[in-house]
């Protein structure tokens, strides 16, 4: 058991201004295992990885790789020692080609100049290993977030020798892609590699990992063998109180009225959304289900005016609109939490307070400035209401963990007092505890009269929250279910049927 220890971290501590992110944490990784690192948002998982790989310097503690003391001062050094990492945030260059991204910093050379042919061939071979067939000469930005993530993983897999770290790599992948990734991980594990895997999907933990280390509030809770730890004790250990799976399956009482907040009639955009007609009533939660690329987010973008519709009518309250833009949408009482929190949600350099008041200020207009006092009042109110974990509202938002960032974005919209809130993957990449909180919040908001349109890849989540689920498939509305008919099986059936042939999610460009 100790003979094959690959990596050992002992008594590691790290403090950020105002936050003790890690205190005296031990962590052991063995050869040929997949080791889950679990904990709520802000528990310190990413920080543990970042001190290991030299992104941050640790205050205290030692790291041994194959029994030898190491101190990586930068990710490059860690890389040279054989530790490669895919960070939570994708760190690639969108305007370089896929091949360039795979070989950046280590391009194959021939007689002093770049050997493009070999680089492209090697890239293709490398991606084949992950069952990916891409045109490696295309710029990375032509591909979906999921594919970009797979490219990052391919690069790390290729460069790693011994230790591979994956910090929430699956949050933007669909089921099929997750399985692809798991196949690769199993292969690498069997070759003797040690893999650290951070995820918030419990099923994935039981699917792929051999061992689990749990952190809570920066401290070690314990290390367990996956097969011997039940789901409920795993979650209880993470959140620090009793948790039963049944708690998650509360059935929702209906609270909506007959008044319609938003409706669309054959809203269409060529190449992106085929005619969709649906309505959301006051206090109603409507779910949009479908596979990745089925047109769910694209539809949300039409309502909020990120994209323009070609035809069809959008009605908000009693007004109808031919065209829309975000500012107008906000003025008309729409709020929108976009899918990609980092790219389209947070404004990284700004503080929590500024991020919260941003949309409200935009709604009021540039000259109708919200005085600082009032801003602080609003920020304080929502930090308390949503239980945002931060030492101060003047912290930069990018110092927060994912779940807390998401709460700030929610706060941003609640501050505008919307009548319709569109939530695109509101709990993606968020831990179980915060997930539960956000779901409860959605239900409470609906009860108080807010209309909600929710998109989630976790069907169970939508079933719990929604009064009604509209199913999209291949950019087309294929059906609708409500009440007791809302089960995962029924939804999957509807997604699968509808058009006959079982098309696969296409992976060529976007």
């Amino acid at each position: 058991m100790n003979g094959n220890v690959l990596l050992k971290m002992d008594d590691v501590s790290k403090t950020f201004p105002g936050v003790k992110a890690l205190s005296g944490v031990n962590f052991t990784l063995r050869k040929g295992e997949v080791h889950a690192l679990m904990g709520e948002n802000g528990a310190g998982k990413s920080t543990l990885i970042k001190v290991l790989t030299g992104v941050h310097a640790m205050d205290k503690g030692v790291v041994k790789l194959n029994g030898r003391l190491i101190t990586a001062k930068s990710p490059q050094e860690a890389q040279m020692l054989g530790i490669s990492t895919v960070y939570q945030e994708i760190n690639l260059c969108p305007n370089l080609s896929v091949a360039e991204n795979l070989y950046i910093g280590r391009v194959p050379k021939r007689r002093g100049s770049i050997d493009w042919k070999r680089m492209n061939e090697d890239s293709e071979r490398l991606l084949k290993r992950l069952n990916l067939n891409l045109d490696v000469k295309q710029p990375l930005s032509d591909f979906s977030v999921a594919i970009q993530q797979m490219v990052a993983i391919a690069r790390a897999v290729d460069m790693s020798s011994g230790v591979l770290i994956l910090d929430e790599p699956t949050s933007s992948l669909d089921n099929q892609e997750v399985q692809q990734l798991f196949d690769v991980m199993r292969k690498l594990r069997d070759e003797g590699m040690g893999i650290v895997f951070v995820t918030h999907f419990l099923d994935q933990v039981y699917d792929i990992t051999d061992r689990i280390t749990i952190l809570r509030n920066g401290a070690l809770v314990g290390e367990y063998e996956t097969s011997k730890l039940s789901k409920s004790s795993l979650v209880s250990n993470m959140i620090g109180r009793e948790w039963r799976e049944e708690d998650e399956h509360r059935k929702k009482e209906q609270s909506y009225t007959s008044e319609v907040t938003m409706s669309t009639q054959a809203l269409t955009r060529a190449g992106s959304v085929k005619p969709v007609s649906l309505s959301v009533k006051k206090g109603e939660v409507v779910g949009l289900a479908g596979l990745l690329g089925s047109g769910r987010s694209e539809f949300a973008n039409l309502i909020f005016g990120i994209d323009q519709s070609d035809s069809g009518i959008l009605t908000l309250g009693s007004e109808t609109f031919q065209s829309m833009n975000p500012k107008k949408a906000i003025r008309k009482g729409v709020g929108f939490c976009p899918e990609d929190r980092k790219v389209a949600g947070i404004v990284g350099e700004l503080t929590i307070r500024e991020n919260i008041v941003l949309a409200l200020q935009a709604k009021k207009g540039i000259f109708n400035y919200i005085p600082l006092k009032k801003q602080q009042e609003i920020a304080r109110k929502f930090i308390e209401l949503l239980r945002i974990k931060t030492p101060s509202m003047e912290q930069r938002i990018d110092n927060l963990s994912g779940g807390n960032q998401q709460k700030v974005i929610l706060a941003r919209w609640l501050a505008t007092e919307p009548s319709l809130l569109i939530l695109d993957e509101p709990t993606r990449g968020i831990d179980v505890g915060s997930k539960g909180e956000i779901r409860k919040l959605i239900l409470d908001l609906a009860k108080s009269g807010l209309s909600i349109l929710i998109i989630s890849s976790e069907l169970q989540e939508m079933i719990e929250c929604a009064d009604r689920i509209v199913v999209l498939r291949d950019r087309m509305q294929v059906g609708e279910i409500s009440g007791d008919h809302m089960t995962e099986t029924n939804i999957m059936k509807m997604i699968a049927e509808g058009g006959g042939s079982h098309e696969q999610y296409s992976q060529t460009g976007s």
Binding site: P326, G345, I346, L350, K364, I366, N368
Partner: protein
Amino acid sequence: MSSIRKRAASIMHTKIIWPITALAAILLFNLFFVPGFFNIEIKNGHLFGSLIDILNRAAPIMVIAIGMTLVIAKEGIDISVGSVLAIAGAVAISLLGVVPLWLAIVAALIVGVLCGLWNGLLIAYLGIQPMVGTLILMTVGRGIAQLITEGKVLTTDDKAFGFIGKGFFLGLPFSIFIAAFVFLFVLYLKKRTALGLFLEATGTNKISSEYAGVEPRKIYLFVYIVCGLCAAIAGLLVSSNISSADANNAGLWIELDAILAVVIGGTSMRGGRFFLAGTVIGALFIQSLTTTIYSMGVPPERIMVVKAIVVIVVSLMQSDRFRRVFQQKNKQAVAG
């Protein structure tokens, strides 16, 4: 005790400490090596001396750098400010005597706004890269100024116009009051309207800002217009100071001084947070440096080199990464 240390640490983290240090250093240098640098005389109720001279000469740089700060905060740049300065000067002086003074001034300012509008439209609405977009006006602008002056160096002896860049008010150069007014006005926009928030938000993350209802293009257009207006004000200061409009040489390379002032002041070329007070001090530093080098009698051909070295050092100090490397080295040295 620890609170003092914390406060000290937070001061070290505020960006303004670096331009202030740089300015203090150059003044200290002058105290020891340039005799009479700090002498201030009173002649006819006006103050005279090197320091006053620096203030007066720094005014145009300051005004332009303030406009430039906004443009850089949105992750842009405006290299046409020197040309706009020349155009505005040419417009004002060629109109003097033809129309009333106030109209000549207003016309020059309007031309500045139009120049900014042009830049803004190219960049915000046609999506041309800022460097390329403003390069157009930078090159064409001098030609336009030439057309206005009909290829000559126009001069004026209008006393009232001369007051703008040469006059004294309450014992101090009038130009410095104009610079102060521009500073306060833009500071007001930043602190008392949502411009500061919107500009810092779009400069940091354009997409997120758009999703939050901010209209980045309008913000961009606005900051280029303000920058053009600032360049026109500087054009009035400069042409009034030398009582002439020189299409070729007025404001030549001033964009470089302005950009440096912004960067030294702590605003990052990557956009986002911006620091108006930092910019003002940065501009004062650059003018002090120039004046010092002149008064040391450094041969003109070496002036650029000396300036370059000093600027490199200050910019390095301003870089977080450089400081971190430097601090780590220090720590190691202490530990080892």
